[in-house]
C-alpha cells in the first residue's frame, strides 16, 4: 500500500485528454475542429453535458508565433470532459479515431503524495 490520498469519490469527473495534430484548432462556438488546410470535422454526439475544452484557454487564444516552443506544444492539448457518471475509457477509442487527434488518453488518476497519515487523530477533546 503506497502512501496516497485520493480525491473524494464521485466529486470530480475524469476526462479524456487529447492533443491536436499540428495545424488543427477547435471552434468552440460552432463545436467543430478546423484544419489549417480548410478541412472541418464535427465530432459525433457525446453524452449530454459533455464539454470539449482547451486545457489552457489563454494559450489557445494566443498567436502561435508569440509563444515559446513549450507553450506552442501546450497550446494543442484539449479535454473531453464527460459527466461524472461516464468513464473516459469508454470514449477513448472514439476520440482517438477523430482525424484531428494526434494522441489521446484517459486523464491521470491524481492523488496527494502524502504518507503515513496520522494513526490517531486527537482533534476532539
Amino acid at each position: 500500500m503506497y502512501p496516497a490520498v485520493p480525491p473524494p469519490k464521485g466529486l470530480l469527473a475524469r476526462p479524456v485528454d487529447f492533443k491536436l495534430k499540428p495545424g488543427w484548432r477547435y471552434d468552440e462556438a460552432k463545436g467543430i475542429f478546423l484544419s489549417g488546410k480548410g478541412a472541418e470535422f464535427a465530432p459525433p454526439p457525446l453524452p449530454k453535458k459533455t464539454r470539449i475544452v482547451y486545457k489552457v484557454p489563454s494559450l489557445a487564444r494566443s498567436s502561435r508565433d508569440r509563444l515559446s516552443r513549450a507553450e506552442q506544444d501546450l497550446q494543442r492539448y484539449m479535454q473531453v470532459i464527460l459527466p461524472p457518471s461516464h468513464q473516459p475509457e469508454d470514449y477513448l477509442t472514439t476520440v482517438q479515431s477523430w482525424p484531428c487527434v494526434e494522441e489521446a488518453h484517459p486523464a491521470p488518476e491524481v492523488s496527494l503524495p502524502a504518507g503515513c497519515v496520522p494513526r490517531k487523530q486527537s482533534n476532539q477533546r
Partner: protein
C-alpha cells in the same frame, strides 16, 4: 462527609500557553486545622476539648472559643481514634515549653504524638473559618491555626486555547546533517525568503489556521471540500511559511509570501492550466510547488511531469525564471526503467524533483509518551531512500519524508477548531517537497537581497544539488536508487 460530584468552569491560560482548568468541589466544606502545642496537655472529642486538671483551664478556654461558633464536627486531622488522642495527655504534661526535637525524641514523642495534636474543626458556615482561626490563634495552647487548603488536580489539561511552541520538534530546520540548516542562515539578509512568492498547487487548504500568515489567497481553481485534502495543503504551507512567534511552528521561508492554486478547474484535474495560470501571476525568482502524483503505466504513483502537457507547462514556467519544485511521488517506482524511455520521467523539465529521505528522528515522540500515540519508528538509515519514494536520474534532491512536524491533522495538538491542529507525522514526498521549496525560496530571497536579482531555476537546482548533504545507502536501498542529497542552506548560501 458526603462528597458531591466535582464540577469545573471554563479554562484559563497560563503565560506559557497551557490551559488551567478552574475546579470547584462544592460538596467538600472548608475547615480549620488547629495544631496544639506539644506541651499542652489537651485532647479532644468529637465536640469539645478535654484535659486533666493540669490542662483544664486551657481546654476550657478553647471550648469557650468553640462556643462562639456553630461547629458541625471535630476530629483528628490524621484520623486517630479517641484513645490515641488521649494518650498524648501524659506525654505533653511531661514536656517543657517549646521542646526541641532532641527532647521530643528523648521523651519518646514520635510521629504519632506529634500528629495527634492536629485537630480538624468544621464550622457549619464556611465564612466562620477565618474568624475561628483568628480566635484560636490567640490561645496559648494552640501553636498554629489555619484554614485548610482546597487542592485541585495538578495535571495540565493541555492544548485547547494555548498552543505550545513546536519548533524544537521541527528537526528539518536544524543544522546539517540532521536538517537543512534553515535556522543557520536566517540571519542573512533575505534568507528567510523575503521578496519571494511561493505558490502551492494541490487541492485544498485551511488558510485560517492560527499559525499561517494572513492573506494567503486562492489565485485560481476550485477548492476540494475534503478534510484530508485540506489537512494536506495546510501541512504543506506550515513547513514553509508558519509564522515565527511563541506558539506553533516556524516556516523554513517564513518571510516569503504564499499563494495557492487548486489543480481542479472545470470540475476536473487540469494541472497544466493551473501551472500556466500560476506562472502568469508570478515573477522570476518565485517558486511553484506541485504537491500531486498520479498513477503511471506500472500502476504505481509517478511524478506529474510524466504527462507531456504537464511537462510542457513546467518547461514554460521555468523559462520565465520561476523555480518549479515537484514531488517525485510515493510509488517505489524506478524512473529509469525502459518503460519510461522518451517520457517526462527521463527528460529534464527544469523542475526540481524531490524524493523522500529518512530523517534521523523527528525529535519529539521518541517514546510514544505525552499522548501522541506510537513512538517514532526507526525506519532505516538517515538520508537513505524511504521504501516508498520514487527514484531515478531526474530526482534531484531529497527532503524529510517521515514524521515531519507541521500544521493540521491534530495528532500532535487537537482542538475543536481545526485552526489549532498540529501534526508530528506528516510524511511522504508530500512532506519532503515543501522542505526543498522552502530552501529554494530562502536562496532566491538571499540572491535578491545580495545580488539585486534572483538566480535562474537551473542555478538554484544546481546549488541545492552541489552543496547538499549526500544521500547514503541503506539495507535494500542502494545509492543507485537515486533521490539526491538533502539541502544544506549554509553551504548553499556561499554560492549565492
Amino acid at each position: 462527609m458526603a462528597r458531591k460530584k466535582m464540577s469545573r468552569s471554563g479554562p484559563k491560560l497560563s503565560k506559557q500557553g497551557f490551559t488551567i482548568e478552574h475546579f470547584e468541589t462544592p460538596g467538600i466544606p472548608d475547615y480549620v486545622v488547629a495544631e496544639l502545642r506539644y506541651e499542652s496537655p489537651v485532647a479532644y472529642t468529637t465536640s469539645r476539648f478535654v484535659a486533666p486538671s493540669a490542662g483544664a483551664s486551657q481546654a476550657g478556654r478553647l471550648n469557650d472559643v468553640l462556643a462562639k461558633f456553630d461547629v458541625a464536627s471535630m476530629r483528628s486531622q490524621y484520623g486517630f481514634k479517641g484513645a490515641a488522642v488521649r494518650s498524648r495527655l501524659s506525654l505533653a504534661a511531661a514536656l517543657p515549653a517549646q521542646p526541641s526535637a532532641k527532647i521530643l525524641d528523648a521523651k519518646g514523642a514520635g510521629a504519632e504524638f506529634r500528629q495527634s495534636g492536629f485537630v480538624q474543626i468544621v464550622p457549619k458556615r464556611a465564612e466562620d473559618c477565618r474568624k475561628l482561626v483568628a480566635a484560636l490563634s490567640k490561645e496559648k495552647s494552640v501553636w498554629k491555626a489555619y484554614v485548610a487548603p482546597r487542592p485541585v488536580p495538578a495535571g495540565l489539561s493541555g492544548n485547547a486555547a494555548g498552543t505550545r511552541l513546536f519548533e524544537p520538534a521541527q528537526g528539518y530546520l536544524y543544522s546539517p546533517p540532521v536538517g537543512i540548516g534553515a535556522a543557520d542562515v536566517w540571519s542573512l539578509a533575505g534568507a528567510k525568503g523575503k521578496g519571494v512568492t511561493i505558490c502551492d498547487i494541490e487541492g485544498a487548504w485551511n488558510t485560517k489556521h492560527e499559525d499561517l500568515p494572513a492573506g494567503i489567497s486562492l489565485i485560481g481553481g476550485t477548492m476540494i471540500p475534503d478534510i484530508g485534502w485540506r489537512n494536506h495543503g495546510t501541512a504543506v504551507l506550515g513547513e514553509m511559511v508558519s509564522v515565527p512567534n511563541s506558539k506553533g511552528c516556524v516556516g523554513i521561508s517564513h518571510a516569503a509570501k504564499a499563494v495557492v492554486h487548486s489543480a481542479v478547474i472545470n470540475g476536473v484535474f487540469n494541472l497544466a492550466q493551473a501551472l500556466t495560470n500560476a506562472a502568469a501571476q508570478l515573477n522570476a525568482g518565485d517558486v511553484i510547488l506541485i504537491e500531486l502524483q498520479a498513477t503511471g503505466p506500472n500502476n504505481k504513483y509517478v511524478a506529474m511531469q510524466f504527462w507531456p502537457d504537464i511537462f510542457s507547462a513546467i518547461v514554460a514556467a521555468t523559462a520565465k525564471g520561476i523555480t518549479v519544485v515537484q514531488a517525485a511521488g510515493n510509488g517505489d517506482e524506478n524512473f529509469d526503467l525502459p518503460i519510461f524511455n522518451n517520457t517526462g520521467l527521463q527528460k529534464d523539465s527544469g523542475a526540481i524533483v524531490v524524493g523522500a529521505g529518512i530523517p534521523p528522528s523527528n525529535f519529539f515522540d521518541f517514546d510514544g509518551g505525552g499522548g501522541f500515540g506510537a513512538a517514532y519508528q526507526n525506519i532505516g538509515v538517515p538520508r537513505s531512500r524511504i521504501w516508498f519514494s520514487n527514484y531515478g536520474k531526474i530526482v534531484n534532491v531529497q527532503g524529510w519524508g517521515f514524521h515531519v512536524t507541521t500544521l493540521a491533522y491534530g495528532d500532535l495538538q487537537g482542538d475543536p477548531s481545526e485552526n489549532k491542529w498540529y501534526t508530528a507525522r506528516f510524511s511522504g514526498t508530500s512532506s519532503a517537497s515543501p522542505i526543498v521549496t522552502g530552501a529554494a525560496a530562502c536562496i532566491q530571497g538571499r540572491s535578491k537581497a545580495k545580488n539585486g536579482a534572483p538566480l535562474s531555476p537551473a542555478k538554484v537546482r544546481k546549488i541545492l544539488m552541489d552543496t547538499g548533504t549526500p544521500q547514503v545507502p541503506g539495507p535494500g536501498v542502494p545509492l543507485t536508487q537515486r533521490i539526491g542529497p538533502l539541502p544544506n542552506l549554509a553551504k548553499a548560501m556561499t554560492l549565492v
